[in-house]
Amino acid sequence: MSTLVLLGVVLVLAVMAYVVCRQRALASVAGDVRSLHSLPSAYGWHGALMVLLPALVVLAGWLIAQPIVIERSVSSLLPASVQADATQSDIALIDVRRVAEGLDIAVSRGLIDELGPDGRGIDPATLRDALAGVGVALGGDVSVETLAAAQKYRTSAAWGLVARTIATLLVAVIGFALAVMMTNKDFRARNRVEGVILGLLILCSSVAVLTTVGIIYSMLSETFSFFAIYPFSDFLFGLTWSPNFRGNSEFGLIPLVWGTLYITLISMIVAVPLGLFSAIYLAEYATPRTRNVVKPLIEVIAGIPTVVFGLFALVTVGPFLRDWIAQPLGLGDSGSSVMTAGLVIGILNIPFVSSLSDDIINAVPQSMRDGSYGLGATKSETIRQVVLPAALPGIVGAILMAGSRAIGETMIVSMGAGAAAQMNLNPFEAMTTMTVKIVGQLTGDTDFASPETLVAFALGMTLFVITLGLNILALYVVRKYREQYE
């Protein structure tokens, strides 16, 4: 039975359990709901959950475990020389799986006779062509061992499918029976159902933690395997970035960090004044009507996907800067440059700076402003000498968050900043960032044994640590500030 059908059957059983348990609960009190411990539907839900949960757990566990178990037993059939080497046996297993899949298709279409033309099984020599006929292309001819392994794979998979169906249905039926037996008027169905639901809620809220664990684990393990191949100090302090898929690569982090920070700096020079002055105007000067129109309009910028900004950088901003500023001033003739990417990221960050600062400025107590006006200060003097100093920690937090976004931004830099890893002071030169290089190293074919792929994980780890640090710092600063006025 396919997984979907099996799921359907289990669901039907669950619905039946709901109806039966509810009926049984009502029957146990002869229809007098008042003497039941819980509402009738609680008994129903208890029955449904008793069927669903154990069956789903068994099914999911089986789906995960079966391929691992089968692969282990199949790989014992491969030649000892292949088994010894992890990479080779991985490749061999992929072959085995492809052959098995191809055989399944070919046999089901009747193209290959299971017993072979002479009754002694399939001939490995002709198998490659036969499988190519059903759309399964193989890299080489099928060896005898591979064929044997593939046959074993098929029988185990077929057996596993039957066993999985039986096990799942058995658990579901046992759950059904238990639920029905438990159901009587004194059974605390509601408490049990609520306990289960609470457990599910806790499980869901743990997904966030699991994600973090996943991020850290996946990056840490690959980063460690990278540093096993490539020296740590060369990565951290190297001045050259020249990956080469034929070997002899140099992975110096410094040029990438330089490009990243330069672009971030330019973007902050754009975003901070524009965002801050917008926020000040909106919070202190604008009439409610202006505010209601302008604030959502500025936030539209935050809703536009970054790839749109990337195309804007590539098609409009880059050529404009090149033709009107860089070339007349003799500063270079590259369309993609630090300036292009920095300006566009700056624009992207305006709404972040402005809406965060807006909230913070609004949180400054009115009494402080009134005090300042009472002393005869003008509005701008009040803002500059009272409101802004009071809001400063919060604004610093907002700026740090915007900075961390600029560092982690990917699409705008990959479309607007170029790919040349170099250290240069000229902002009209193409430079590159950590994110661009992560995309560059991981797009296309990835080989998890080569340093050219693994370096991306080290870069990702660096990026993660930097942005996380900035965010924690920002949260700390903001929280510290909030305590002052609450």
């Binding site: 509601r190 869901c204 809220s205 966030a208 801050l276 409009t316 003008t378 995309v439 990835t446």
Partner: protein, 448 residues
Amino acid sequence: MTDLPADMSTGRAGSILVPSRLMTRRNATEWRFRMYGVCAIAVSLSVLAIMLWTIFADGISSFRQTSVTFPVLLDAETLDPDGNRDRAEMTGVTTIGYGKVIDRAFLSLLTSEGIAVEGLSDKDARGILSKEAAGQLRARVLADPAIVGQTINMTLWTNARIDGYYKGRVTMETAVRDGNVSPEQLQLADLLQERGILSMPFNWEFLTGPDASDQRPEAAGLGISIIGSIYMMIIVALLCVPIGVAASIYLEEFAPKNRWTDLIEVNISNLAAVPSIVYGILGLAVFINFAELPQSSSLVGALVLTLMTLPTIIIATRASIRAVPPSIRDAALGVGASKMQTVMHHVLPLAMPGILTGAILGLATALGETAPLLLIGMVAFVDNFPAVAASGVLEPATALPVQVYGWAQRSDPAFIERSSGAIIVLLFFLVIMNAVAIILRRRFERRW
């Protein structure tokens, strides 16, 4: 107020009614400071306007495609040598065979219309048609083999340069220098246009067709990426909303104050700020390398986007659960509801509009996200439509924003038009999602 004496306007020094020099300066500073704010807003909004305008100006033309309509005699001997009108046999005829049929029909059209351009060879004349034209004809014939042997009116694309001529990318001057198009070809196109043979109809294929190779931008369509995006949004919604709501309910209503829940809280606020590309690395390492799910499938894309969107949705949901006043909970508990019943029967329904709004906005962010999808291989060239069935989520697909990026990376300027057109489609979906969110908020959100 009494009227001021006349001599007050000339003023005495030191009067409060006469601005002193210091006061004038302070007022000027005040005005300047205010203007800084106005300028900042004006600059931000005008850059936004310029950006949207350039993209619309570049992209809107991709919805129209220059095409030539002329009668084509479907020669039975070339297209169906066996004469059985059997679809399976006819798939044996490749586009080369169809190309010959088109060549003959097009050249006889030129003769019958009396169109001749000096210095234009037959091969170049035929060259104004798209390389995809033979494929278009083949698809039409295979869809209905009975038409073989008849003469039908076909609307076929011209190549991207001729298309660009009518969209302003190519002019007679640039054509002289361009190896792919000659001024004679453009003259031929103009003659065809005068006779109403060449026109620019609405380009449905742009919305429904698959991507095309570098040499034929005129055939590139968004079909697969729209399907991929829709698949991903469905899975993200199915995973993200229940998990996000469940997590928020627990954290907001049940969680005791202890280390574990503190850890979860800090985690969620930090995850919301992790750069999206890091999620791509996670997806590559965990879903593709470890769990061995198929690369560039919409399932993996959706899982990555789910993890990325989850913190945003949790934060929005918690805010709307918190906005339900405690009196509602107290009343429910007071009449004997259990804690779970209070939440499920009262708090959750009241918080629903806010939750849905947050969920839709979260989905909108996920729809526009590109970087993590690049890492899990969705940037690969895909020209087979994924199946409509559930297994389709395991097949290679691409997504709208990734298609924008993919086209922007290609060298032919015609792809920039396509890329901008794809952005228009993407923004169209985003505007709809945001509009729904705003309507939900306006109509159903309660203020206590």
